[in-house]
Amino acid sequence: MRINGGRIVRGALFFCASLILFFLPFNTMAAGEYSFDVEEFESKSFEWGGYAEIKFEHIDLNTDSAFYRLNFHQDPRSTIDRYTGALQLEYSYKKGIGAFNGVLRAEAGQDDIGWSDSADVYEANLSLKPTPFVTADIGKKVFKWGKGYAWNPVGFIDRPKDPNNPEEALEGYFGAGVDLIKSFSGSLQTVALTTVVLPVWQGVNEDFGEVNNINLAAKLYMLYRDTDIDFVIFSGGSRSTRYGVDFSTNLASNFEIHGEFAYLTDLKQNYLSETGALTKRECSAKRYLLGLRYLTESDLTTIIEFYHNGAGFSESELERFYQLVADADTQLLNTGIDTLFQTAKNISNMGYGSPQVGRNYLYFKINQKDPFDILYFTPGLIAILNLDDQSYSVSPEMLYTGFTNWELRLRFTFLNGDNFTEFEEKLNENKLEFRVRYYF
C-alpha cells in the first residue's frame, strides 16, 4: 500500500536515515568484567526497532544490450551512480491473546537520471492466539512458503524473491488466515495446517492477479522422521489453480537437502512465436527445485540449487525478443522511427522484462565465515547461471558485522554471456555496491 505522503515526508525519512547512520558511533565495547541486568530485557507490550541504511552503487551499463537499448535509446549514457537511503521500522503491540505487528519502509534515491522515493506499509496485521494450537491473523502479511533459498516454486502467494538478496524483507498482501498446530510423539512429530483467504479487489492486492476474486491457499506441514514436508494448494480466480509439495531434511549434521515441486494449471502467457508475432498460449506447467546446503569443518557454507521453470521462455523465445529489440534499434537508426521500440517495451512488460524468465537455472552461493581468524568477517560469492544459454552473473562480496548493530557489505556483480543470451542482454555490464546498515 503506497502512503499518500508528500515528497517532504519521504525526504525527511531519508534525512533521518542519514542522521542515524552518521551520528551514531560504532559502539564496540571495551573489555572488562561481564554483567547481566536481566530486568532490562523484560517483555514490554509495545516494542519497536528496525534499521537505517545508505547505499552507493556505481553501474557500468552494457550499451550493446537489449535492455539498455530499450531504456536508454533516447538518453544514451554509459554509467550510473546512485545514492540511496532507506529506513525500515518494525513494531509490535501485545495485549492478552492479541498482537498487532507492522513493518514500514521508506526509501529515497538520487542518481544521474533523477530523484526517486517511496514509502510503503510492508506489513500491518492483527494476530490472535487463544491457545498454542491456534492462531488467527488478519491484515497485511508476508507469506514465504517453500524450502528453496533463491527460488520458491510452491510460493503461490509469495512475492518473488531477488536471488541476489533472498533474505531482504518484501511487501505483504492483505488477507486473513488461521494456523492450526498439533504435536505428536512418534515418527510423525508435528502437523500444522495454514489456510489463507486472499481477496483481490480494486485497490486491494491489485498486483496479485485478476481483480474481483477471493482466493484460497492452504499449506499442510508435517515433520515426519526428521524431514519437513509441505503440501500446498492455491485456488481462486486471480491466478490459475496450482498444487505443490516440498521437503527439507538433514543427511548429516552439516549437510541439508531440500526440494520443491509445483504443478500449475491453465497458465495464460504471451510469447513471441517463430514468425515473430505476439501469440497467446494456455498450458499447464511444472516448476521444480532441488537444492543442498553443505558446511565444512572450516565454516565454509555452500548452497547449490537447480531450478526448472516450465512456464519460462525457451532459449529461442528469448532470442526472438532480443532480435526484436535489435531490429527496433536498426529501425530507429535508419528511419528515426521508434514504433518497434514501443512494441518491444509492451512485450517486455508482459513478462520478457522480468528477472530470470528462462527455463533452467543453477544457483551457487559460497561463503567463508571468519577467515584468517577475523571474527564477523564473511567473504562470499553468488553465481546465477542460465543453463540453456550459458549466460551468468557472478557477485563476489564481503560482509562485516563486527561492530554491534552495524553491517557493512561491499559487493561487485558482473554479467556475461554470448549475444542474445539472458545475462548478456541485461541493462548492466557490472555493478559495484557498498551498503552500510545500522540496526536499532
Partner: protein, 256 residues
C-alpha cells in the same frame, strides 16, 4: 523390638551389626555406586529442570579485548525440545532457533520462514556453536562411562549416541558434592580437541536449583578468543509441545 523376642543374644549382636553396616553403606556409598549414565542423568537434572524458561547473555571476547554481546530468551521441554529467541542486539532481535532432537532450524524475521541449520554452525559467531546454544540434556546425546573417581570428582568419558551429535566424545569432570560439571572437553571423531567448557560460579536460582551461573569456553581452533554464557532467571514453566514447532517460531516472544 520384634527380633528381641525370637533371636538369641549373639544373633542379636550379629543382626545389629548387619543393620548398622547396611545403613552405613546406604548413607556413605550411594554416589560411588552410580554408573556413568546415572551420574549424567543427575548432572542434567541439576543443571536444569525438565521444562523451564531462562534468560542468557552470550559474550564473544576477541583477543584484543573487544566484546560482542547477545541476549537470548530460552524455553525447554523434555530431554530434547528447545527454543531460543534473540532479544538483543537489535541486528539479531526476533531471530529464533528451534531444536527438536537432532533437527535445528533458524527463523529470521526478514526471511520469514525457518531454515534448517546444523549443530556445528554458529548463529552468533565466536566459540559457541549451535549445539552449545541449544544445549539439550547431555544424557539425550551421550552414553557415559566413569573413567576415574577421586575424592571430590567423577571423570566421565561420554560417547555420542549417533553420528549427528556435534561432538563425538566428551571428557566431563563432575563435582561430587554438587553433581554439576566443572569442565567438559569436547572432541571430534578424529580425536581433535574442539573446545573446553568451564562451568563456574555456583548460584541459587530458587526452587531448589543450585547450579553454575557462568559457562566459559575456549578453543584451540580460535586461539585467543573466548566466549562466555551468563545464566539468569531459570524458572520451571509448563509448555505445550506445540511451542516447539516451526509455525510457532515467529511468536515465541509472546511466551514471555
Amino acid at each position: 523390638m520384634i527380633y528381641g523376642k525370637v533371636l538369641s543374644k549373639p544373633s542379636k549382636v550379629f543382626f545389629n551389626f548387619l543393620v548398622q553396616m547396611t545403613l552405613i553403606m546406604l548413607l556413605v556409598i550411594p554416589a560411588a555406586a552410580l554408573d556413568g549414565n546415572e551420574i549424567l542423568l543427575q548432572v542434567d537434572r541439576n543443571l536444569q529442570p525438565e521444562s523451564y524458561e531462562m534468560y542468557r547473555k552470550l559474550i564473544n571476547i576477541e583477543p584484543a579485548g573487544s566484546k560482542k554481546e547477545y541476549v537470548l530468551y530460552t524455553v525447554k521441554k523434555g530431554q530434547d525440545k528447545m527454543v531460543a529467541l534473540f532479544l538483543s542486539p537489535a541486528s539479531e532481535k526476533g531471530r529464533a532457533t528451534l531444536r527438536l532432537g537432532d533437527n535445528m532450524w533458524l527463523y529470521i524475521p526478514s526471511v520469514g520462514k525457518p531454515l534448517r541449520i546444523t549443530s556445528l554452525q554458529s548463529v552468533v559467531g565466536g566459540v559457541f556453536n549451535n549445539s552449545d546454544i541449544l544445549r539439550i540434556d547431555y544424557s539425550a546425546e551421550y552414553n557415559a562411562a566413569m573413567i576415574e573417581e577421586t575424592a571430590d570428582k567423577f571423570i566421565l568419558d561420554c560417547k555420542a549416541k549417533t553420528a549427528t551429535v556435534a561432538y563425538d566424545r566428551l571428557t566431563m569432570v563432575v563435582d561430587k558434592e554438587t553433581m554439576v560439571p566443572l569442565t567438559i572437553e569436547c572432541y571430534a571423531a578424529s580425536g581433535m580437541l574442539i573446545k573446553t567448557l568451564y562451568y563456574k560460579e555456583l548460584k541459587d536460582f530458587g526452587d531448589g536449583l543450585r547450579r553454575p551461573s557462568v559457562l566459559e569456553t575456549d578453543s584451540p581452533l580460535y586461539k585467543g578468543y573466548k566466549s562466555v554464557m551468563l545464566y539468569a532467571k531459570i524458572n520451571k514453566k509448563d509448555l505445550a509441545d506445540e511451542v516447539f514447532t516451526l509455525n510457532y517460531l515467529p511468536r515465541v516472544d509472546e511466551l514471555r
